[in-house]
């Protein structure tokens, strides 16, 4: 078994190209950008949502709203500690809008379920679409993404880290294996 602690699976250029492709797919699927609202799941979905929104704006030459959503109050899989709340800011009514929900990694699907429940408390969107940078499999709920940056087969024990910073060149996605790498259970 590999003893490597972390392996880089995407670099800054690959992430940038994936975001550009997702932006084009969103525009193509929705026949333009009219009525789109981007909502990032706190915390890692927020910078990604901003990048995708900015890319769509640049292509279409329009201004589009960007919101943030904290799903802590809707979770069914609390960790060992209660999560501390961070801002939820939905800048407009979602009724009749097409919401592009954005998260960094799609894994069990439980965060997305929580986010769907939360979003509907802000109105009745015409549609909700899901964009993720990485789909790592292991779904526990019937959830799928509409836009995927990269499909990444993983073991359940591994951790996928998406690092988006102020400098896009330093962006990367890494897989961190548990110490010693004993494989999947």
């Amino acid at each position: 078994m590999a003893r490597t602690e972390s392996v880089q699976v995407m670099d800054g250029d690959e992430i940038r190209r994936a975001i550009t492709r997702i932006a084009h797919e969103i525009i193509e699927r929705n026949h333009g950008a009219g009525g789109l609202v981007f909502v990032g799941i706190q915390k890692k979905g927020v910078p990604l949502a901003r990048r995708i929104r900015d890319a769509v704006q640049a292509i279409e030459g329009v201004e589009l709203p960007l919101g943030t959503l904290d799903i802590s109050l809707y979770r069914d899989d609390y960790g060992s500690r209660t999560a501390q709340l961070v801002p939820t800011d939905i800048p407009c009514s979602l009724t009749g809008k097409t919401v592009v929900l954005v998260d960094d990694v799609l894994f069990t699907g439980r965060s997305v379920r929580s986010a769907l429940e939360a979003l509907i408390d802000f109105g009745r969107p015409a549609a909700i679409q899901l964009a993720v940078l990485v789909d790592r499999g292991h779904r526990e709920l019937p959830v799928r993404a509409d836009y995927v940056g990269k499909n990444l087969p993983t073991s359940r024990k591994e951790e996928v880290l998406v690092m988006l910073g102020d400098d896009p060149c330093a962006d990367r996605v890494v897989i961190r294996k548990p110490g010693g790498g004993e494989g999947d259970r």
Binding site: L73, Y74, Y78, S80, T82, Q84, L85, T88
Partner: protein
Amino acid sequence: MSALNRNILALREMSPEEIQLILDQAQEMKEILSRPIKKVPTLRGKSVVTLFFENSTRTRMSFEMAAKTLSADVTGFSASTSSLAKGESLKDTILTLNAMKADAFVIRHSASGAAHFIARHTSARVINAGDGTHEHPTQGLLDMLTIRQHKGTLRGLTVAIVGDIAHSRVARSNVWGLTKMGARVRLVGPRTLLPADVERLPVEVYTDLRRGLSGCDVVNILRIQMERQDAGLFPSVREYAQTFGVDRSVLREARPDVLVMHPGPMNRGIEITPDVADGEFSVVTEQVTNGVAVRMALLYLLLGGSNDAAGH
């Protein structure tokens, strides 16, 4: 485990970090109250029992609204219609309610220390909603949240608390909370209404209203309790209003961006004039909204998370 592994009995017992956490979480909770659907499923299946052995409308309703917004089930208990009227002791009442598997008790009682007493006899979480003349921690927290929203911070501010300090649990919770968070507190009132142990509190004492308000950032005006007059603690309501009632003229002593607060219920025309109560400096209605947010934050921090949070 929940984020705050403790009961909320007195701000004197809490650390600045814990207070900071509660205020931060309350700030986020406030957003929920402005949503089209003011309900989140977080505390589904948790039960909160409100035990009010003393009359209250706003505190009790505020706790109930907070619990219901978080989807907890709330059962009310009022002393006048309960078995207490048949002579059941407080301890037996608690043991009975405890056996019904409540997750949290919210208690108001006329005896100082009642919430601590209950906490010793239950495995559920206990929140003090006012005990005698001791503390009213949730009022202290909502006052601090209101100040922080307007001033950005509590550190370095001067807060004057005016009126019947001796009998005020609100004053005590404010003194402990504010000083822990780095504010300076002045107690302003007639000597007869200052607590006997005032020199042991971390405060400055003023018996002259004008001097007490001079240069302060916040004025928190307490309700004068009419029944105190019978005890001879001040000569007449009219004289109290003239010497310690806060009106526009005396408010000019304070900073030009002063905040005027009152925990309610107000005696308009006695401790506060109506034009000050409704004026541009008043944040009284914001205090009420913040009260719901603070209580939501506490219930979330105490009961949220995995199911062993309540200890059974």
